[in-house]
């Protein structure tokens, strides 16, 4: 069981997440893609911790989880309030902040 597979898997997951963020319009889906990217990074961290025989990467993964949990709370709240005011969860409708 070589760690390389984990890294390849993490890269695939990250790419799926990134493409999802770029191409999808539903805010919830975009959000889920962001979570996917975060978790692929977690996977990478843990893999490297394993390769190096240290726990640094694992500790870092815990931090990422905490941050992700907090971010989910704030992000979902924003999406909720946008949905309430605009009757839409499309990220393209929230485009007032421009030139």
């Amino acid at each position: 069981m070589t760690p390389t597979y984990y890294l390849v898997l993490a890269a695939i997951l990250f790419t799926i997440g990134a493409v999802g963020v770029l191409v999808r319009r539903n805010a919830i889906v975009v959000f889920m893609c962001i979570e996917l990217m975060l978790n692929s990074v977690n996977l990478t961290l843990v893999t490297f911790a394993r390769i190096n025989g240290t726990v640094d990467g694992q500790i870092m993964a815990f931090f990422v989880m905490v941050v992700a949990a907090a971010e989910v709370v704030v992000g979902l709240a924003i999406i909720m309030s946008i949905y309430r005011t605009r009757r839409s969860a499309s990220v393209d409708d929230a485009n007032l902040l421009k030139y």
């Binding site: 963020v21 770029l22 990220v91 393209d92 485009n95 007032l96 030139y99």
Partner: protein, 638 residues
């Protein structure tokens, strides 16, 4: 000769009050506002009279001191204590400044009293007296200063007061223009004076009279000459000497008492004071003194020639002032023989020219402010006191034997001849010729104003002025008659000023004094006769004749002095400013505005990249992260 300075204690220590009293008067009058309108003129007169009493007491106290100790310095406070530059505000009361404070406060007081009547109907009389008090304060500071910096403060102060008073009737465009002209031409001279002060500090490290004169002999000859010429430039500006003479006749736009006090008796003689005060410097530079005499000669002839052609009574008197100050410059330029003589002429001129201006003011007062002498005539019988006092001043000015002008002007011509050599003959001859011209233009003025058939406007009702105006005129006319005799025979001015200028050298007469006197009197008589022949014999036309010789045309255009200034300085100056405005508008403003417009346009275009779509931002973030990663990899593996 070393002068012992007395301590400034007791009465002699109160010289500073001389400056402060009129300054306070000016402050009260200016800040007091309209509620002082009723009594403003009384305050103005009271301060000057108080000053006069104090000046008399001070001079009496000074005269009581033993010879060799007739000088008081009083350092009041440190003005500029910066490293090497230590400038103290201090006063110096010595025989020379004593003469001046008596002249300034005495004539000043008389003219203040006269102004009560002359400005009686003017709604701004309070402001007038405030400015007059300001002038007296500045002038006293000028003559009492113990160094060039204090003198300079007073110098600028009188310039300011002169500006304010010429433009006193500022609603008249002519008065406003004349004031600006006076201010700007004075500034040209002031630059010379201030540069001289800089040089003094750079070479001697001090600007007080005592230090400068003590160190002057150690300076290079070229430096002393430069100092002399720069001081002369300053003196020319303030005293209306060629080439900076053009402002003085225009300054007659101010009220007549101003012309009498500032532009005849006191301020315009400040240049003579400056050169006389700087005598130890000028004694060291033959060149500078020669230039002073030449400026004096040119100016006295210029003023006399132009004075013959004008019809405006005040302008004739103004050119006469220019010419008489030329005499003083001629005398101070002649060195130790001439200093006391110049001051003598300054004093007698202060009396008779102030008296003549007050007389002219009285005539204008009775003639609805008319100044054209062609519309006067026959006023002698209507204004007896004015006529008699004016006639006495006239006789004193042309040098009628044994009146004050005779003593002072004769001495100047004599000293000019005595200076020796070809230059001595030129100076003496020129001064004598100008005496004849003076007699001509003043007789012309007398005849056109007081004699002959009336040529008044229909609505003119000439009448004598009130006593508040005639009494100062009478006192000044008495001064015009007796001042010369008293200052030569009773209280010899030369001996009084000896502590300042040193002993007068034994005169080496080229021409015997009695011959000079007789010749001068003959020339003056010829001038009077010529005026009688050309002006009094026939009717004076109301309009100036048009078909006249080129000489008269040139004199009417003040020998093209104004034309010269206009074509050489004013028009090129205007072109220069216009060119600079063009460069500023098109060049500087164009560059700045162009840069702003360019930035605005660019940012307007760049702004379009901010679409507001989250995914485009996300894409650019991803792109950026990829680029950074690529860069790291490139650095790591290539």
């Amino acid at each position: 000769m070393e002068t012992q300075y007395l301590p400034a204690s007791g009465l002699l220590g109160s010289a500073w009050l001389l400056v402060v009293i009129p300054l306070l008067g000016a402050a009260v009058l200016l800040l007091g506002g309209r509620r002082l309108d009723k009594i403003g003129h009384l305050i103005g007169c009271a301060t000057i009279l108080l000053d006069f009493v104090l000046a008399v007491a001070l001079v009496a106290a000074l005269a009581g001191q033993p010879d060799g100790e007739k000088a008081v310095t009083d350092t009041l406070f440190s003005f500029i204590p910066v490293g090497e530059l230590q400038v103290d505000i201090g006063l110096l009361l010595d025989p020379l400044s004593a003469v001046f404070i008596l002249l300034i406060t005495g004539v000043g007081a008389l003219i203040h009293i006269y102004s009560v009547g002359y400005m009686g109907h003017d709604p701004d009389r309070r402001r007038f007296f405030a400015y007059m008090n300001l002038f007296v304060a500045a002038m006293l500071l000028l003559v009492l200063g113990n160094g060039y910096v204090v003198l300079y403060i007073g110098w600028e102060g009188v310039g300011l007061a002169s500006y304010l008073l010429i433009a006193f009737w500022y609603r008249r465009p002519a008065a406003a223009t004349a004031a600006k002209k006076a201010f700007i031409m004075n500034r040209v001279g002031d630059v010379g004076l201030i540069i001289a002060v800089f040089i003094m500090f750079a070479t001697l490290g001090s600007t007080s009279f005592a230090d400068v004169f003590a160190g002057a002999s150690g300076l290079a000859a070229g430096t002393v000459t430069a100092l002399g010429l720069l001081l002369l430039l300053g003196a020319c500006g303030k005293s209306g000497q060629v080439p900076l003479q053009a402002w003085l006749p225009d300054a007659m736009e101010g009220p007549t008492p101003v012309s009498a006090l500032i532009h005849a008796a006191t301020m315009v003689t400040a240049g003579v004071y400056l050169i006389a005060r700087s005598a130890p410097l000028f004694d060291l530079s033959e060149t500078a003194r020669t230039v002073v005499t030449i400026v004096g000669l040119v100016t006295l002839l210029y003023g006399a020639i132009v004075g013959c052609a004008y019809d405006d009574i005040k302008k004739v008197l103004a050119y006469s002032t220019v010419s008489q100050i030329g005499y003083m410059f001629l005398a101070v330029g002649l060195g130790p023989a001439g200093y006391a003589v110049a001051i003598l002429h300054l004093l007698t001129h202060g009396f008779f020219k102030a008296g003549l201006f007050l007389g002219a003011g009285s005539v204008m007062h009775g003639m609805n402010d008319e100044v054209d002498m062609r519309k006067f005539g026959g006023l002698g019988s209507k204004m007896r006191i004015t006529y008699i006092t004016f006639a006495l001043g006239y006789l004193a000015l042309i040098g009628f034997p044994f009146l004050s002008g005779y003593y002072s002007k004769d001495l100047i011509i004599e000293v000019a001849f005595d200076s020796g050599g070809a230059l001595g003959w030129i100076l003496g001859g020129g001064a004598m010729l100008a005496a004849g011209l003076t007699a001509f233009y003043m007789t012309r003025l007398m005849v056109m104003t007081f004699f002959g058939r009336p040529r008044w406007d229909k609505d003119a009702h000439p009448h004598e002025s009130p006593a508040v105006m005639t009494v100062p005129m009478i006192i000044l006319s008495l001064g015009s008659v007796f001042a010369g005799f008293i200052l030569v025979n009773v209280f010899p001015l030369g001996a009084w000023l000896e502590p300042v200028f040193g002993p007068e050298p034994e005169a080496d007469h080229v021409v015997a004094p009695i011959v000079v006197s007789i010749l001068t009197t003959v020339v003056v008589a010829l001038g009077v006769a010529a005026a009688w022949f050309f002006v009094a014999r026939r009717e004076v036309p109301i309009r100036p004749p048009v078909n006249v010789s080129p000489v008269i045309k040139a004199a009417r255009a003040n020998l093209y002095g104004d034309a010269f200034n206009e074509s050489v300085f004013m028009r090129p100056g205007q072109w220069l400013t216009r060119a600079m405005v063009y460069v500023d508008n098109r060049g500087v403003d164009g560059a700045v505005n162009g840069l702003a417009a360019g930035l605005g346009g660019t940012s307007g275009r760049l702004r379009r990249t901010q679409t507001g779509f989250v995914r485009s931002y996300a894409l650019s973030m991803l792109g950026g992260a990829l680029v950074v990663t690529m860069a790291f990899l490139a650095v790591r593996f290539v």
